[in-house]
């Protein structure tokens, strides 16, 4: 199929960016979106032009590295997939596809379609962990009984790959879905309760410091999340935060 691509090109963080038009022929339906961009880049390189920079790593939908705002939606029009798992069969011959970087003040553009998502790392570092004694007396995690429902909910929250689609989709560029998933995966388990009060306060404080917007419960994040992280996690984080604030 033949596609008309409108791609955001930006030299670096301090330069202004703009949309550049490309026409790409010979795209097959079973190619992934990133493979389509690979073909475009091969063409650009063979013509002596600079290739389009974009993030990618595992290309199996599990690492959270790929991003892209495709036709106004993070990871494109398909649901519960990352851009690397989005296939070109979702598009038609002659389609125009607008490809932009995830846009948020807290995700500055590094180059072209690559954004700096280290704000997420700093939120994690603020409390997204449990302190475990590694002196040799470590207790096997499975020695503590946990009911199936809580274990499943914690695991669901833990499937967040930190790609940033929630921020990109949210009209307020809010990082509440990401942060709430990282809070919830510990909040539901006994191992996480020990540091629960400090964790939620520190992570929310860091999230606010990074300049993300406020959640207005539109639910866009939940719809666009490639891992299907639920809004119930945000409600849980709100509860955790309010009770932590009252305690200390």
């Amino acid at each position: 199929m033949k596609l008309y691509l409108k791609i955001w090109r930006q030299k670096d963080a301090s330069s202004p960016g703009k949309i550049v038009d490309y026409t790409l022929d010979g795209v097959e339906g079973d190619m992934s979106f990133l493979e389509m961009l690979d073909i475009l880049n091969e063409e650009l390189v063979s013509k002596g032009e600079e290739p389009v920079e974009f993030d990618h790593d595992c290309r199996e939908g599990i690492c959270g590295t790929c991003s892209l705002q495709i036709n106004g939606e993070p990871h494109g029009p398909d649901r519960l997939v990352t851009t690397c798992q989005l296939h070109m069969r979702k598009f038609n011959d002659g389609d125009t596809i607008v490809i932009e970087p995830f846009k948020a003040k807290a995700f500055p553009v590094i180059k072209d379609l690559i954004v700096d998502r280290s704000a997420f790392e700093r939120i994690q570092q603020a409390g997204g962990y449990i302190s475990v004694n590694t002196s040799g007396n470590t207790v096997d995690a499975n020695a503590i009984p946990i009911n199936k429902h809580d274990a499943d909910e914690a695991m669901d929250a833990a499937t967040c790959i930190g790609c940033g689609a929630c921020v990109a989709a949210c009209k307020n560029a809010s990082a509440m879905l990401f942060t709430s998933a990282k809070v919830s995966q510990f909040a539901l388990l006994p191992q996480g309760r020990i540091e629960a009060v400090e964790r939620v306060q520190n992570m929310v404080r860091q999230m606010d410091l990074e300049g993300f917007g406020n959640c207005t419960n539109t639910g866009a994040c939940e719809v666009e999340c490639p891992k299907g992280i639920s809004l119930t996690n945000i409600a849980r984080m709100n509860r955790e935060y309010l009770s932590a604030s009252l305690k200390g």
Partner: protein
């Protein structure tokens, strides 16, 4: 505690609590107003009570005004902060793909309701304050019904009220259930809250619109 006041979650909770307070107020306001259609005497006596009871006038009324101010000032502050957080707009942004229109446009439905409140305050509250404290007119427990009905004589005012009620309905459609989520209340009762939201956000504004239209088309004949 200072961290709590500045935090994004605390601000959500302030929006939620002030919003729910206004929902309670709307219910009370509607209950009194609907009597103007059913029984003018009841409307007069309830209105007189609301207008002259010191607890209502000097405690509940200031709390209500504070609730309205907190809700819209915080709403504006959050909207400005949220716009900044995007840091420029997308070339293509398909908001309709993942969120309903009402949830994405609370600021606009809210602004229409706020503009309506200005007119509504001018129509009734300013008039009431002038009657009681400037003209120092005597208490008249029978004046409320005809004063209200006469207000809806002009077609333009009736239409403005009805438009505002439509936007109020859209605002409530998202806001009511959303306030429970903001306070961390998302559980097995959430589907029931969502159903209640839909019923409330249609019935109450529709009822208000009915009252305005009823009085417009059934004027007091002298």
């Amino acid at each position: 505690m200072s961290g709590l006041i500045k935090s994004s979650i605390a601000r959500k909770v302030v929006m939620a609590l002030s919003g729910l307070f206004l929902v309670v107020f709307l219910t009370q306001h509607f209950t009194i107003n609907i009597t103007s259609v059913i029984d003018p005497e009841t409307f007069n006596s309830w209105s007189h009570f609301m207008g002259y009871n010191p607890l209502v006038q000097f405690v509940l009324q200031p709390i209500l005004i504070a609730g309205v101010i907190i809700h819209f000032v915080m709403g504006f502050a959050l909207e400005i902060q949220n716009k900044k957080a995007r840091g420029g707009s997308y070339v293509k942004y398909k908001g309709s793909a993942n969120a309903p229109w009402v949830s994405r446009n609370m600021i606009y439905s809210g602004l229409v309701v706020l503009a309506f409140l200005v007119l509504h305050f001018y129509d009734f509250w300013v008039h009431e304050m002038a009657y009681k404290y400037i003209e120092v007119s005597p208490e008249d427990p029978t004046r409320y019904y005809h004063e209200t009905v006469e207000k809806f004589e002009p077609f333009w005012r009736t239409i403005l009220y009805v438009i505002a009620f439509v936007l109020l309905s859209l605002h409530l459609w998202h806001g009511f259930a959303s306030s429970f989520q903001s306070m961390g209340w998302n559980n097995k009762y959430t589907p029931a809250v969502k159903t209640l939201t839909k019923i409330f956000s249609v019935v109450i504004p529709l009822g208000f619109a009915f009252i305005a239209l009823y009085h417009h088309f059934n004027p007091i004949t002298h």
